[in-house]
Each structure stands twice: as C-alpha cells, then as structure tokens.
C-alpha cells in the first residue's frame, strides 16, 4: 500500500511538472505583489500577471491597491526585475505559457520593432479613446507605435537628464550649470582642485549594458551627430560621432570623469551622486524621486540643467521611455487593458509625477498647477524634452546595441581608435540591416 502511495506521489510530482510546462490558467496563484484588497465574493476573479522594471515598481505597487479598490474582480500580480534583466526575461517568457507567461509586459521604446514584428505584443489601437489619442503627447505615442498601430500605453516620458548639485557648484564658485562640454571639463577640474568633490566630479555608466548606448547617444547628439540618416545608413561614425566618442575617452583618461565608470551601469552612478560624492550625474527621470527621497543626502540641492553641448550643437538628451503592453498569451486581455489604461490615466499619471518624479504623458499636465508647485524640476525637464535624440528602433536592436557597446568600450579602453571602433560598429549595423 505504502509503495503505491509513494509511486503515485512521484507520478503526481512529475505530472505536476509537466502540466506546469504545458500551460494552464493561473487563477489559483496565491502570491501577490499587490496589497490585498479582498475581491468581491460570488463573482469570477481574474488574475493578471505583470512584469515590470524595478524603476517605478514602488509606485506601481501602491497604484495596484487603488486599482483593486476600483476593480475588485481583477487581481494583479506584479513581478519586477532590474532593467538590465528585463528584456531577456521577457524574451524567455514569450516562449512560455502558464506561470512563466505574463499578461502585461513593460516595453522599452527600443524594443518596439523587435516585439511588434515578432508578434510578442498585441496592438491596442482600437482600444484607444479619442481623448487618449488627442491628449497624450505625440512623442509618447510615437514610442509605442509601429506602422500605424499602437502597441501599448506609455507610462512616462523619459530622457537622460543632466542633474547637478547646486550647492557643490556654488562652493566651487559657479552659479550656473555647464553649458558646453569644455565648460563641463573645466568645472569638473575646478571641483576636484577645490576639494569640493573628493574624486572625479562625475561618474557615468559606461559598462557593457544598454545604458552605455544611451549615454553615447547623449554625447553623439550634443556633438551634432546622429545614428542613421534618412536613407537608413549609419551616420554615427562620421566626424561628429568620432568627436563625441573621443571626448568620452579623453574625459576618462584625464580624470574629468571617474575612471571606474567603465564598470558602472546607469543605475549604479546614482548612488555616488545621491550621497554627495559627485557633483553631476546624467540619468533617467526616476532619479529625481530618489534624489529627493527622505534618505537622500542631497535632498533639495539638486537641479536639472540642459545637457552640455559643443558650440552650435543642440543640447540633446537620449530618450528612453517605456510602455506597458499586452501579450497574445494573455487570456484576460480585457482586464489587462483596464489595468494599463488605469496606470496611464491622467489621474494616475499626475500621482506618479508627484510621488515618483516621472514626467507625465498627458500634454495638459505640464501646465497643471499642483504639479508645477510640487515638482521643482518640471519646468527645467520640459525644456530638456524639446531637444532629444533616440536610439534607433531596429528589428535586431539588441545585436546592434551589443556590437556598439563592445566597440565603444574598445575605444574607451584604448584598444582601438574612436574612428576604427565606430567604423566597425557601422559595418556591423549595415550587415544586420541587410540580413533583416
């Protein structure tokens, strides 16, 4: 008797494993990232699984509580991972079903082409109301669009902003942020010489991650360069691109910026700035919330300036907005849409700006009195949004990006000249585009 029981147990175990891979519904899942507002009894409760980046996860968790108050029959399970792991986890999940699949995923603008063309995310154009189509910033809609279809609801409007520590600059005798890269170099030296900063005045995220490409985009644009021309040919290896990369390398070599930058990503550089060790940092909009949080040593001392530029070039910042999209694996499309529509609503967007420092997607929120009163950087940030550069949205974007990261690092570490490195990346980009 005992034997049979054990055998049966083993079979169940294996059977369980197999069905878990085979794809059944997930309504029985107990763990929840949401705070538990009890679902109304008697009616069907739908569970949607959401995969999000860490960056605004705190706000999203509190938003889920509000969502539940409005829609008690929809349970939201929020899972969040570090941005650098997000794409790979999503790519694996699109292949899976059951508990490994998600109803809603967080999509970076640079993945739109890849995801939409492979059918990983569903178009939601028909679900958009006229109010949304008219009220949301065209630039925000643009990031979630491909070939006349919209693939999700943008969650914030983001670029790599140039933050500076006003108090430190004043100590070094400056009453304004650097307007040009030459001035940036000069101020960085002065800050160090006057011992306002113990080491280099800024650290950048130049490790082999996506953030490196965003930073390169920033230098590229502010040196007057661009990634591709109208005909879709690479232009980032022209004279301006080479100048931009050369400036990055020289700054590393002459101590203008921290030489450990080559090991940091675009999240790690925030820590040094938040603890008052560095005077400048270039980073995403969520930095603002972190920098003004209760545990920040630089609370209320931070301002947002325009990204420095060489003479005559625009003060461009690299865009990096994200949106939530619904996957075709979802069996609860309606519920999933309600959730992302709710997070994208004017009300929640305003709250997100106030609490987490994200820039809203709705045009008229930029003139909202509450936001302007509570959000010191809003005007400065809106000014920066007028001048931006985007990373190219290619089908094989990740391969392009990895190749570019390797080549940029080859130049930064002195293995290759800036020109040779960018030529190499451009050749690979051409090949990638040619092979579809």
């Amino acid at each position: 008797m005992k034997k049979i029981a054990i055998g049966a147990m083993a079979t169940c175990l294996v059977g369980g494993l197999l069905t878990a891979c085979g794809g059944n519904d997930t309504t029985d899942n107990a763990a929840s990232g949401a705070s538990g507002s009890a679902p109304a009894s008697g009616s069907e409760v739908e569970t949607i699984r959401v995969l999000s980046s860490d960056d605004f996860a705190g706000f999203r968790e509190s938003a889920i509580a509000e969502f539940n108050a409005k829609y008690p029959n929809i349970k939201v399970e929020l899972e969040h991972v570090a941005y650098d792991q997000l794409h790979d986890k999503e790519l694996a999940s699109f292949n899976a079903s059951g508990n490994a699949a998600y109803d809603v995923v967080d999509v970076d603008e640079i993945w739109t082409s890849e995801y939409a063309n492979a059918g990983f995310i569903l178009p939601v154009t028909d679900r958009y109301t006229d109010e949304m189509k008219k009220g949301i910033l065209p630039a925000s809609l643009q990031i979630a669009s491909l070939d006349n279809e919209i693939y999700g609801v943008p969650m914030f409007n983001d670029v790599v902003f140039f933050y500076y520590n006003q108090e430190m600059l004043q100590k070094a005798g400056y009453d304004h942020p650097p307007a040009t890269w030459d001035e940036f170099t000069e101020m960085s030296k002065a800050l160090q010489e006057k011992k306002v900063t113990a080491g280099a005045a800024s650290a950048w995220g130049f490790s082999a991650n996506e953030g490196l490409v965003a930073y390169f985009a920033e230098f590229l644009g502010s040196h007057g360069g661009s990634f591709f021309n109208e005909a879709g040919e690479p232009t980032f290896n022209d004279e301006k691109g080479v100048q931009a990369l050369q400036y990055m390398k020289d700054s590393l070599d002459n101590g203008t910026i921290d030489k450990a930058s080559i090991n940091y990503n675009d999240r790690q550089v925030l820590d040094a700035f938040k603890n008052g060790k560095t005077a400048f940092v270039a980073g995403w909009s969520f930095y603002w919330g972190e920098l003004n949080a209760a545990d920040s040593k630089v609370k209320d001392k931070i301002r947002v300036g325009l990204v420095p530029a060489v003479d005559g070039a625009p003060h461009t910042a690299a865009t990096g907005s994200m949106y939530l999209a619904i996957t075709p694996q979802s069996k609860h499309e309606e519920a999933a849409w309600k959730f992302i529509e709710f997070l994208g609503s004017k009300e929640m967007q305003k709250k997100q700006s106030l609490e987490a420092g994200a820039l809203p997607i709705w045009k008229d929120l930029y003139s909202d009195a509450d936001l302007q009163a509570n959000y010191g950087a809003l005007t400065d940030m809106a000014k920066q949004l007028e001048s931006v550069i985007s990373r190219p949205s290619l089908d094989g974007y990740n391969e392009f990006s990895k190749a570019l990261q390797i080549d940029i690092q080859a130049a930064l570490t002195g293995k290759e000249s800036a020109k040779a490195a960018l030529d190499d990346a451009a050749a690979q980009a051409k090949e990638l585009i040619a092979n579809g």
């Binding site: 890849e114 059918g119 082999a208 080559i262």
Partner: protein
C-alpha cells in the same frame, strides 16, 4: 512475471523524472539546433513550419569569428584557472596532510571560500577591484606596484586575469579537499620503504604520492575543467562580458545568442559544440590517467 516486472515498476518513477528533466530537454535542444527557430516562437506549435536546416546552424557557429575568439578566451580561462587551482590546491593538501597545531581549524577555514555561492564571490571581488574604493586597488597602489589606483576590471586582459584570481580563490579549496582525502588513505608502507631506500622528500612526492593520487587527480581535474569551461555567472556579474568583449566566453556567447538576441537555434548549436569540447576533455583526461593507474 510479476517478479520480473517489480524492479522495473520501482525504477519507473525515477526514470520518468530523468526523462522529464534530462532526456527530454536535451533532445528538445538538439532538435532546435537542427531547425531554424528565431524569435517567431509560434513556429514550434506547427510542425509544417519547422524548416529543417540540417547542420547549417553548426556551420554558422564554426564560421563565426566571435565563436573562435570566445573559444580562445574560454581555453585561456580554463587552463589558467584549473592549472593554478591544481598547483595551489596540491600545495595546500600537502601542508594540511602534515601534523601541526591547529590543523583542524585551518582545514575547516580553508573551505570557507568554496562555501560561498559564486554570485556572492563575484560581487565580493567586484568590490575588491573597484577602481575608487577597492581594497586590492588601494593595496596595489600602497605597495607601489601600480602608479595610482588602477582599474583592474577596466581593460580586457587584466579583467580576464582578475576574474581568474577570483575563481581560483573560490575553487582551490575543492581541489585541496579531494587531494587531501586521497592522501590520507595512501599506504604508509610505501613511504617507509622509500625512506629506507634513501629517497628524498621530492622524490617520494613524484614517485609515490603523485602516481598513487592519480584517480583523485583525475576526479579533481575533470570536474574543475568541466566547470571552468562552462563558466558564466562570475563573468556575468563581474564584467558582463566587457570591457570591449574581452571576457566573453562561450557560455556567455550562448546566453547572448539565445536569451538576448532570440536566435534559439544558433544558441543551441553553440551549446552542443561547447559540450563536444567538454566531452573531448573528459576523454583525454581519462586516457592519460587510467593508463598511468594501470
């Protein structure tokens, strides 16, 4: 009849487990490497869409410069780290095999690095090497080996060697442990006879200890070589394959192809090519050491 079937019935559950978690995934991966599966995953649902490409993916792997470069780096990593681990591990084992005060404590202490999860080890060494605050960076500067703090993870060559040091620090204990265990069971008579014949300590080591240890050395080397050849996590954490791709080893390339770029078939083919090398290693080791043991 029932008597004959009974053992089979007992084996069935474990066979199902093995089938489910080893054989099926393996066969599945092999299958994927022979079709052309890219991001359009829905292909798998429909057998009509499986376009069978034969060995094309394997051909692509072998024709790819990135593969040969990664193979070179993997060989460098494997032989340097396993070599160092073996030499240092043998020295440790010899010392710990002698009687001295506090031996038990030292033996236990030696195992601590090995007890660390690789991830913890990687994060720890990443901080030790940090260009601004790293202990090792400061130490090298202080004793004058470097001119000012140097970023050890900042260039391809030094980053690879820095990772090897971290790996050796962790895995030497494993080699020592296996060798030490084997040394303790060596026959005392052989050493006594050697001493009577006037063999020196060095001679006794090479003529008695080493040959008798062959089976243990085989185990240690095979296991460490296989593991080192598959190295991934420590590199993923410490450098992410950078700087400038200088620490991209085969596992990293495989991960990148399948999980980042969505080229699942190419990634599978790459993984099988890698397994092929590992099998070759195991085969060579067994050939060398079993011959000596005979």
């Amino acid at each position: 009849m029932i008597r004959k079937l009974k053992p089979a019935a007992f084996l069935l559950p474990s066979f199902i487990v093995i089938l489910g978690v080893i054989l099926f995934p393996l066969a599945y991966a092999l299958f994927i490497s022979f079709i052309n599966l890219t991001k359009n995953v829905h292909k798998l649902d429909n057998p009509k869409l499986w376009d069978y490409v034969g060995f094309e993916n394997f051909g692509k792997v072998l024709g790819d410069d990135a593969f040969w470069q990664a193979l070179g780096r993997t060989f460098y990593f494997t032989f340097t780290s396993v070599g160092l681990e073996f030499i240092i591990g043998m020295a440790f084992a010899l010392i710990l095999n002698e009687k001295f005060k506090g031996r038990g404590f030292v033996r236990g202490f030696m195992l601590i690095p090995w007890a660390f999860p690789t991830i913890v080890n990687a994060v720890l060494w990443k901080w030790l090497y940090d260009a601004d605050h790293g202990t090792i960076t400061m130490l090298l500067d202080w004793i004058g080996l470097t001119d000012g703090p140097v970023n050890l993870l900042g260039s391809s060559f030094s980053a690879m060697n820095a990772i090897i040091v971290a790996d050796v620090w962790k895995n030497t204990a494993f080699v020592s442990l296996i060798l030490l265990a084997a040394m303790q069971s060596l026959p005392k008579e052989a050493y006594e006879a050697g001493m009577i014949d006037g063999a020196s300590a060095v001679r006794r080591f090479f003529s008695i200890t080493l040959p008798l240890l062959s089976p243990a050395i085989l185990v240690a080397l095979v296991m460490r070589t296989m593991e080192a050849f598959k190295v991934f996590d420590i590199i993923y954490i410490m450098t992410g394959g950078g700087p400038a791709g200088g620490t991209q080893v085969l596992s990293f390339l495989t991960y990148q192809s399948s999980m980042m770029f969505g080229k699942f078939s190419y990634g599978s083919a790459l993984a099988f090519v890698m397994s092929f090398f590992i099998v070759i290693f195991a085969f060579i080791y067994i050939k060398i050491f079993y011959k000596r043991a005979d």
